[in-house]
Symmetry: C2
Subunit: 345 residues, 2 copies
């Protein structure tokens, strides 16, 4: 197994990427490749014991975080990001990891790796914390204005990922909506619900889930259109930050509460850790012909290390191969969906 | 001013409604009417000093929380909820408050009170906490599959409400989307953004807002389609509960953290209070010909009291009259919207 890491991607690159690869390499059953200006990376590696399975591949150009995706990809054929993706396209690596320009990463992944089978749209899958371990939310923002079929594809991809990379048996798949009943939600969600509950759809569909259950519900995969999924994900982030910050403000008001906060610190730290995206290793771009991990722009070394380990689990679980198989099987339920699309047209 | 309160609405009715009305009456510049089986209400009122401005209107029937809205309204013409709304329709009250069957309440409000002017759809507006006081989110779940024009109407209604009931000058109105740029979001949101930024739209539109900013952003009104709005609202609720619950779990693990939690209790209590829907007094159904406050089914006396005070502020601020005026003014920007609808059709 070979995992290619864009050394120049992210706000803290290249230091965080190099340090993250150094942390991850001893835990990887295969090779980790750092892609970027070779001399600069070698300088950063100097002084550290070099793991035998860590290699460097030269790529002189860098795509900035704020560059226009299409234009940057065209103008910089030898960017660290492009070379990282090319390694996967050419079969020299099985996974690409980057915390760099996510638009450019998705663009490159779709164009160079292509989507699996006749999948319409790849989706961004993110991990959310739950009381008994992580759950997957997809799509977290790649696809607007989905059709019911897209949501069914997301459901299947999420289910396969949860089974083969997270080790869940018969993953419980739910559809994000505004009520539990199948009649609740907008047109596309209601049609997707009908499609997902067809016995021929090869997933364990447990029905709708509301926003209230997004972290606490007994579920492994939450399926949404990219608009609603992104709203839910970012609202969850925003509310956690707001709450912890309000707690700091309130705790600062007296000696009693300040002492309380200090004593409670280990517990607060644990809760923060659970919510912390660094431990979840970034988002997956599911549905392209290769494993792609889109790291958070602010990724530090620990986040990059986790992203590499997430990539390893996805490759070891055969997620790409299972996805290709599963999407073929889904084609058999298309007739049902065509009927549904006609009904809701 | 007369505020009619459905005494039989909500899980804790009639006790909570009666106690809530008793709490609110001394703070109301006008009359509070409790609507329900007169004898039962009088029994509950006995033993309390009776405020001079508290009246009882008899309504023998009760609509259950889980009854089908349309059927219940038809079968029970003398329900406490129907009589409450009728008082507003007949001009005998200016506001209706109920924590009962919200579907039946909305149905009655739309049919008996009718929408203002040629408004297409009323919207549910809820208050969310913020660092410097409440902000309004609408629509919180009444309308699926909105068109750009509907979102513009919601924006205007929210702005007028924030100005005249919350006392904000030039309320800052934002559109919920997945990125700040106007090109971000689904088709309807992008078209609504264009419509809202037209100089002829009489609101202070500050652009898109992401889920991360829903509680912390510098904004007075957040506009969304009912699907996304409901997802955001419920996700915010769910994440707050999850966090506080995880904190309890973690705090219980050692003597140190248990002591810390006890010392920190006043601060935690204050944060919980800020998030607590009881203090926000329920949702408003904006856009019908009268002030309607839809209380949470679990409303206790404090929540009912706050709902009555919210109703009072809305009536005193002339929200209904300002909405009617404002919606007329919005008609002048329709030409722009028609163009946008054609572009995105």
């Amino acid at each position: 197994m070979v995992i290619a890491v864009d050394a120049m991607g992210g706000d803290l690159a290249p230091e965080a990427a190099v340090a993250g690869a150094l942390l991850a390499a001893p835990q990887v059953q295969g090779t980790v490749i750092l892609v970027g200006p070779a001399e600069r990376i070698e300088t950063l590696l100097r002084g550290h014991p070099r793991p035998a399975n860590l290699r460097v591949v030269d790529a002189p150009q860098i795509i900035g975080m704020d560059e226009d995706a299409g234009r940057a990809v065209k103008a910089k054929p030898d960017s660290s990001l492009a070379v990282t993706v090319n390694l996967v396209r050419d079969g020299e690596a099985q996974a690409a990891v980057s915390a760099g320009n996510s638009g450019a990463f998705m663009f490159l992944a779709q164009v160079r790796l292509r989507t699996l089978g006749d999948l319409a749209r790849p989706a961004i899958a993110v991990s959310l914390p739950g009381p008994q371990g992580a759950r997957i939310l997809l799509d977290a923002g790649a696809n607007m204005d989905c059709r019911p079929r897209h949501l069914a594809e997301f459901a299947l991809m999420g289910s396969i990922y949860a089974e083969h990379a997270l080790g869940r048996e018969h993953p419980r798949v739910a559809l994000l909506s505004i009520g539990e009943e199948s009649c609740k939600g907008d047109e596309v969600t209601r049609a997707a619900h009908e499609l997902l509950k067809l016995p021929s759809t090869p997933i364990n569909f447990i029905g709708n889930i509301e926003g209230t259950e997004i972290l606490s519900g007994d579920v492994d995969v939450i399926v949404a259109d990219g608009f609603a999924g992104n709203v839910a994900l970012k609202t969850a982030e925003g509310v956690s930050h707001f709450l912890l910050q309000q707690m700091r403000v309130e705790a600062g008001r007296s000696w009693r509460t300040r002492l309380g906060a200090w004593l409670l610190h280990p517990a607060l730290h644990e809760v923060k850790r659970k919510l912390d995206s660094e431990d979840y290793g970034g988002a997956l771009l599911l549905g392209v012909n290769g494993i792609c991990i889109v790291g958070h722009g602010r990724s530090n070394d620990r986040a990059i290390c986790n992203a590499i380990l997430v990539a390893q689990r996805a490759v070891a679980g055969g997620v790409r191969e299972r996805l290709a198989e599963g999407l073929q099987r889904l084609a058999t339920v298309d007739r049902g969906e065509d009927k549904l699309n006609t009904q809701t047209a």
